[in-house]
Each structure stands twice: as C-alpha cells, then as structure tokens.
C-alpha cells in the first residue's frame, strides 16, 4: 500500500477520535485532547500536499488556512451559541483572506460585508431571544457524536484522496492571461472585468437570483404569519386521529 494512503487512514482515525472527544456530550470533561487529536490529523493531511512558493507565501497561506479551519472546529464544538457565532465570524475572515490572496478582492470584501455585517449580526440578535447565558441543556448534548465525527472525517479524507492521487481529477491549468506572471504570489484582478462578465454573460442568472431573493422574502413572511400550534393541542389532535384510526381498523 502506498505510504500516503496509510497516512490518510491514520489521519482519518485521529480526526474522528478528536472530533468525537471534542463534541459536547452533556458531561463535563477536559476537551483539549480532542482538539489536539484533530489538529494532528489535519496536519498529517496537510503534510501530504506539496509546498508552494517562497517561505513567506507558504507561511501566509498556512496561517490563513489554520485560522479558518481552527475557527470552524471551535465553532461546531463550543457549547455556547454566542461563541459559535463569533468563531463563525473568524472563519469567514480567514476565508476572505484566502479569497484576497487569490486576487478576488471585490468578492472578499463582499463576503465580509454580507456574512459578518448582515448574517452574523442577525444571528447575534436572534441569540438574545433564547438563553443569552448559554446554559441551555440542549447545547451541551449532541446527536450521535461518534457517528457524526466518523461521517465528517471520512468525507474529508475521501474527498482529499480523490484529488491527491489522481492528477487527472485536477487537470491542467488554463494558461491564458496569467502567462509570465508569478503563479504562486498575490495577484489582483480587475473588478471591472468581473462586473462586465456578471452582467453580460450571466445576466439571466442575476435576474433569476433576484427572483430567488424575492421568493425567500415572501416565504419568510408566510412562515412568520402562521404561528406554530402549542404542543398540548397537537397531542390532543394526535390522540383524536389515533382514536379515529383505531375505530376504522376494527371491523
């Protein structure tokens, strides 16, 4: 068996064990070993990727990747929803840094403005509706933490294995306008080109997107305007339907 396959399998086991230990179970315990195991597994996968560029570029990309993934791991394992929202903001900042490095400066700013400025602030307001102290019982209990951790770790390692070993999955880069430019360094694209492409080639898609946003607004208004029935009424209703079904089944 190939050496990198062994490393991938070992990293999968480490990640699953670490995530399982770090997810909340409803019992107080030390969760730092879980994060250490998860970091070890991710570092093993990261070591399989060939290094890129100069030392400065490599350390910059690694820093942004570590910030993003560590914030994501902290977000799904923390027991306080307020901290989960803040860690999500940190992950979005790391993502925006990676977009900026790839020359997508307008999109990076749009991601920061929309995700952190609009969506995250809205979720922070929603958090005040319930349990602002973060002491709720259901936040300290997960559904099937072992199965979920196994599913996630397998998803990560299998997806990585598909493009890590087979070069035909990735294919060859299109060498067009970037010939002669450094291939691994910071680049800047023209936002004007992006706007031209968005409104010429993808004009219909932009219209459809506006329609989707309108439908989402209408759907939200419909959901809000029909309140949920109280649970006791529902139980009465269910008992009635069961009684009807029983009388129907008896000849």
């Amino acid at each position: 068996m190939d050496m990198s396959n062994l490393v991938l399998i070992l990293a999968t086991i480490l990640m699953a064990a670490g995530l399982w230990w770090a997810l909340p179970w409803g019992k107080q315990r030390k969760r730092s070993p879980g994060w250490a195991l998860l970091a070890a597994g991710l570092a093993m996968i990261g070591a399989l990727i060939p290094p890129v560029g100069s030392l400065l570029a490599r350390s910059l990309i690694t820093l942004m990747a570590v910030i993003t993934v560590a914030s994501a791991a902290a977000m799904i394992t923390t027991t306080r929803p307020l901290y989960a929202a803040l860690w999500f903001g940190m992950a979005v900042l790391g993502t925006a840094g990676m977009l900026l490095y790839n020359g997508a400066e307008f999109v990076a700013m749009a991601v920061i403005v929309i995700y952190i400025g609009a969506i995250l602030v809205m979720f922070l307001f929603l958090l005040m509706l319930d349990n602002p102290k973060g002491m709720a019982a259901f936040d300290r209990e997960s559904w099937e933490p072992l199965t979920a951790a196994l599913v996630g770790a397998l998803l990560i390692s299998l997806t990585t294995a598909t493009w890590l070993h087979d070069g035909s999955v990735i294919g060859r880069p299109t060498s067009g306008e970037e010939v002669g430019r450094a291939t691994h360094a910071f680049v800047v694209t023209k936002t004007v080109d992006l706007g031209h492409e968005l409104f010429s080639r993808y004009g219909v898609a932009v219209q459809v997107l506006g329609l989707i946003l309108l439908l989402a607004l209408i759907g939200a208004a419909i959901i809000i305007s029909r309140p949920l029935e109280p649970l006791s009424d529902l139980q009465d209703h269910r008992e009635k339907t069961h009684a009807i079904r029983d009388t129907d089944s008896t000849p």
């Binding site: 998803l155 989402a216 029935e229």
Partner: protein, 147 residues
Amino acid sequence: MEKTALLMHYLLVGTCLFGLGTIGFLSRRNLIVMFLSVELMLQGVVVNFAGWDRYHGQSAGQVFILFVVAVAGAEAAIALALIVSLVRGRQGLDVLRLQHVREDIIPPPLPIEDEIGEAELPSWPKLPRVGRPPSIPQEVLEYRPDV
C-alpha cells in the same frame, strides 16, 4: 506545479470546512448553530470556487461566489423566520421541540423534556460578611444562589 500546489491548499481548506459543517449540522441541537453550520459548508464551497478560479485564470469562479453569497442571504432570511416562529411557539431553540413534524408512525427519538443535568454554576469567591447586608435583586439571586 506551483499552481497545482496552490490549488491543493485551497481544495483542502474547502473540504475541511465542508466536512466540519456537516458534522455540526448532524450533531448539534441548537437551531442557530445548525444554520451556522450550513453557512460553514457554503464557505467551503466558496473557497473551492476561489481556488479553481485562480487555477484557470477566469473570473467565472468569482461570479459563482457572488451567487453562493446571495443564496446564503436568502437562506438566512428563511432561517430568521423559522427561528422566530420556533421561539414564539415552543419557547426555545431546541430542534427536538419541532419533532411533531415527523409522521405519526415514527416513534419519537427522545423525550421532549430532556434529562440532561444542570450545568455547573461558576464558582464565586466567598468573603467574610462584614458591615450592613446589601440589598440583592431577585434576578441576581436566581443566577448566583450562593451570594
């Protein structure tokens, strides 16, 4: 080769974000954290698009990132409505309180009133009592019963 290595970094980060978001959506019970996990999966897709965009030197990837962000905005609007209606009708953000949505023949997975122990209260320092006893409001007494 350099381009491929850079793309591989972006693919790995995108995969990790998607996988961690999957775990969060499957295992957490707070509706807000579940929606944040879905947004995390969308972030993974965004990183993926950025990597391929640079790899092929086009701006189509950035266009699709804008589309993903717009769809995430629509999803956040629906999430706002769902969360507000859940809090109004069920007095809480636990998704178990929505379990009546299932079919009648499926047995309930867990009792609605969950049997998880109370969280440990933070330990506050104890000081000797001197002077006039202070007047403590009722809500402080609820939060810190050992004052």
